[in-house]
Amino acid sequence: MFSLQPRGYVSQFWSWGSPILALLLTAAIAGAIFAFMGRPPLLTVYTFLISPLFAPEGLANLAIKAAPLILMGVGLSLAYKANVWNIGTEGQFTLGAIFGGGAALALPDATSWAVFPAVLIAGITGGMLYALIVAWLRTAFNANEILTSLMLAYIAQYLLIYLVTGPWRDPMGFGYPQTAMFSDTADGPRVIEATNLHFGIIAAPVIAILAWWILGKTSFGFQLRVLGQAPRAARFAGFSENRLVWLSMAISGGLAGLAGVFEVTGTQGQLTTTISPGYGFTAIIVAFLGRLNPAGIIPAGLLLALTYLGGDAAQINLGMSNAITGIFQGILLFCLLGADVLILYRIKWRKSAGARA
């Protein structure tokens, strides 16, 4: 048997080394799984992780997939720093899409430049309000935010299904569960004309850098970090824990809402019953892989976005199931958490109970 003993210090080197180690381990384990399945491991890993980058439109697809992951990963990193465990960004993303989409549907003929900002603000508001339900339950009733935010994510999905199959269903859509198309004005401008490259791909890194600055250089950022690392010290210093819960839920929910509204206006142009392949949950892996540091979120978001593209590439080029996206993401998180444990603790072997007797 063995036990885990605190090391008493955190290696600066390994705290950034562990995501890279985890990635290498994941590639090795995935390669072993592929080999076990009778596939050439190197070619499969290459197809999954490298080839999408060189495919036509590969970088554009990567940016589109990474934008929501980075936006949500940044929000989560702030919340997690403060020990506020928002697991329900998927739901806040959905509410952002619903509020933003609702605003777009309410303004079908408006052509003012102000429409798109209004749609974005509606989306941010939707995600934020939904996250604040969690903050309220936590501060008023001490309800565990892990449970409440996760459960609200499922409610959000059913709310979306209700709206697009009920009151918001496109009357001209032959009964299909989808809303009318948004106007071009509400869909917002494009980075490159006539593509899906919406401005979320610019907003995501800009917001990440802004958050990095706030966390590192402002007193609010300092409060968040102290609260996460030493809650008692934070209380002695007069930082209000409740205020930070409200603020970090508002920020992570608002950014998830922004991701949701960018996604539906930027790539879909309407609401349907499926608006996310699980971005909100993947963003949790992004946050940890990026070391809860908004600057680290950018490469982490790009890597996880790559796993989505890799799933398609493996299916098309190798005839494999795209379930390998989920498998890869799962192994990556597992290796990362495992490596993180070993940064904080050392393994101490001891004799088994049987030997002692």
């Binding site: 495919a55 036509p56 439109e57 697809n61 299904i161 199959t165 009920g166 269903r169 032959f174 009964g175 299909y176 569960p177 899906n196 790539t267 879909q268 349907t272 019953t273 499926t274 608006i275 392949p277 398609d312 590439a313 299916q315 098309i316 080029n317 005839g319 199931s321 795209n322 379930a323």
Partner: protein, 360 residues
């Protein structure tokens, strides 16, 4: 005709006739790459399974002259546009997108790849390089309705609906028209589960319909769950897309069976021969795209009536949607003796008198 026997026939036919010339051709040139976009996993039954079975028939027919690629579990959203474009980018010259929700994304990609041919199932938008194809599923519904009219004691049938698109509305109307051709007082209740595949919801809907007095069940969803739920209550039902007898051998009366094989073989052949054109195909019993699995668990006279009804529809003697047709509110929708045209049929969003409940 059953799917399997059909597949064997195609396989045997291919072995005798078509292959020698094609095999030579394949050695000379690169194989034609054909892509398929699937909504679900292939699995063992249902919509995607039938498409994949048809793909295999085409592979058996053309051998090395073609190389097929499937992409499964593709959601009907912007991801589908990316996957369709991926196929076009990787040298696929013919791409089948096999669910309605891929319609706009298929057209978007088709615009960017004028040299690639696209085939979109069940949609209504076409382009110079985009064809559409569909099956007249309602013909099989009418035959099911006739059987239900004979077997139902309460005169109330239950319809486990998916999404109220015209295809499903046609199915409900055709089912009740068939049932009313035997029992003019017959009525139909329905529940939409708002999904094509959701076994727990399908089973719940089935039980709710039975609790409301329905004594025969049909389904427009993909899983055997309604049949199994009906079996647990001792009620008979109809399979969907695939012969589902192996899941409910004492419950399934018959199943409507999707047979995309002849279409896939023809369209791939057209591309190989360089004669592909954008077309709109809507085939029923007569085209070989729609079949019914054996009529079982019913008296011989009912099975004979069902078979003759199928034959009448196949020969064109019975056009299914023939006036007088009256909607739920009692308004006339089609004059006596008139036959509904395909335009009105393909946009159908009203229910015939005797169906209880409202669309969405």
């Amino acid at each position: 005709m059953q799917r399997r026997s059909f597949g064997q026939m195609i396989g045997a036919g291919a072995a005798i006739s078509a292959l020698p010339s094609l095999a030579r051709q394949a050695q000379a040139a690169d194989p034609l790459k054909v892509g398929f976009i699937y909504l679900g996993p292939v699995g063992d039954f249902g919509w995607t399974y039938q498409h994949d079975g048809a793909r295999k028939e085409a592979v058996a027919k053309y051998g090395d002259a073609i190389k097929t690629t499937i992409v499964e579990n593709v959601p009907e959203g912007p991801d589908s546009e990316k996957v369709i474009a991926d196929l076009a980018n990787s040298g696929h010259k013919l791409i089948f997108t096999t669910s309605f929700g891929y319609m706009n994304y298929t057209l978007n990609v088709a615009k960017r790849f004028p040299g690639v041919f696209f085939e979109h199932a069940t949609g209504y938008k076409r382009a110079a390089n985009v064809s559409t194809y569909n099956i007249r599923f309602y013909q099989a519904r009418y035959v099911q309705g006739v059987i239900a009219g004979k077997l139902s004691k309460s005169g109330v049938a239950g319809y486990v609906g998916s999404i109220p698109v015209p295809e499903v509305v046609q199915g409900m109307n055709a089912f009740l028209l068939g049932m009313q051709s035997i029992n003019p007082k017959a009525t139909l209740k329905f529940i939409m589960v708002n999904s094509w595949y959701d076994p727990p919801k399908e089973a719940d809907a089935t039980k709710a319909l039975i609790d409301q007095g329905c004594d025969i069940i049909t389904q427009h969803t993909d899983s055997p769950a309604p049949l199994q739920a009906a079996a647990s209550r001792g009620i008979k039902g109809f399979g969907q897309s695939t012969d589902m007898a192996k899941f409910a051998d004492t419950t399934q009366l018959t199943a409507s069976v999707d047979l995309w094989g002849p279409y896939y073989i023809k369209r791939i052949g057209d591309v190989l021969a360089g004669t592909w054109k954008s077309t709109d195909t809507w085939g029923g019993f007569d085209s070989g795209l729609l079949g019914m699995s054996p009529f079982t668990n019913m008296p011989a006279d009912v099975a004979a009536l069902a078979a003759s009804t199928e034959a009448d529809i196949k020969s064109g003697k019975n056009k299914v949607f023939v006036g007088p047709l009256v909607d739920q509110a009692g308004a006339s929708k089609l004059a006596a003796g008139a036959v509904m045209d395909d335009g009105a049929l393909s946009g159908m969003q009203w229910l015939v008198q005797g169906i209880q409940g409202k669309l969405g």
